[in-house]
């Protein structure tokens, strides 16, 4: 069972209180962008075995989004943080590096 700390309301929410909202830190390419950029934005997703960044919604709770860093292989949670960020905070990156030295994900490492 996965429990994630919601940074918006301070609740340690059970998986069933939450809704998975896909990959975090997507950069949107919409009208005016090239077909390749739009294709990648629409369809290309990371599917790592290991460190992963996801967007979650505290759907039965405060109704707000947040982001989580966790390991897809072990379900270990490295931390959760505000959805209003373009990249993981340093503290989250440090927490991952301590457990998974040499990790990388997209443009982050």
């Amino acid at each position: 069972m996965l429990t994630l700390h919601c940074p918006n309301c301070g609740v340690h929410a059970d998986e069933t209180d939450l809704h998975a909202e896909g990959e975090a830190h997507l950069k949107r390419f919409a009208s005016g962008s090239s077909d390749d950029d739009f294709h990648d934005y629409m369809f290309q997703r990371q599917n790592p075995k290991g460190v992963h960044f996801e967007r979650w919604k505290h759907v039965y709770g405060c109704g707000k989004y947040f982001l989580a860093a966790r390991c897809t292989a072990t379900l270990e949670v490295f931390g959760t943080y505000s959805a209003q960020t373009h990249e993981p905070p340093q503290a989250i990156k440090d927490a991952i590096t301590a457990k998974r030295p040499g990790w990388s994900w997209g443009d982050f490492s």
Binding site: C9, V11, H12, A13, D17, G61
Partner: protein, 187 residues
């Protein structure tokens, strides 16, 4: 105005833990900046309580304020005074971006009262209800069985529960079944 009737018209399931449908309750959803000083004073005037801290609720009888999310409050007032209360909020918040809406008839209010009321809720919700973690004044939005609900404690043996009206009967029956099944003895 048509004759307002609550979801289950005050239905009661008596037992060691008694479930009561709370009848007509005035409920106002407020959205906006919760740090606004005028909001604090209008809450105080309407309910006797200021804006609660994150994850808290304060209530006394028909009146109360609950923290729903970083930009949302639930304001409880006597049912007949709901529209006047909204007018007071609109007046106080004039010029500020906000929303105050009467949701009284969209919600159901239930009371769970008795020696093991805590366990009646704990059996149904994925929330930590250990006495060390959930105490009087704490407020939690989560689910009960299969439906969204929120609850808070007003004293050691009383929980107030709110949910959508459309699932009010389900929530009542669920709580009544949980109460009938007896205590687990974990707390």
């Amino acid at each position: 105005m048509s004759n307002a009737v609550s979801t289950l018209n005050g239905k009661v399931a008596s037992g060691e833990v008694t479930i009561r449908e709370g009848g007509l309750r005035g409920m106002i959803t407020f959205r906006g900046d919760l740090s606004n000083a005028k909001l604090k004073s209008v809450c105080k005037t309407l309910t006797g309580f200021g804006v609660p801290e994150m994850g808290k609720a304060t209530s006394n009888g028909d009146k109360g304020v609950a923290w729903m999310s970083p930009d949302e409050l639930l304001i409880l007032v006597p049912h007949a005074q709901t529209n006047d209360a909204i007018a007071a909020i609109e007046k106080a918040m004039k010029g500020q971006h906000h929303l105050a809406k009467n949701v009284s008839d969209a919600r159901t209010h239930l009371t769970v009262q008795g020696s093991f009321a805590r366990e009646v809720i704990a059996k149904l919700a994925p929330a930590d209800l250990h006495p060390d973690h959930f105490q009087i004044g704490d407020f939690r939005r989560t689910r009960l069985g299969q439906v969204a609900a929120a609850f808070w404690m007003t004293d050691a043996e009383t929980f107030e529960v709110i949910c959508f009206r459309s699932v009010g009967e389900y929530a009542f029956d669920l709580l009544a079944a949980s109460a009938k099944a007896g205590p687990v003895g974990r707390f």
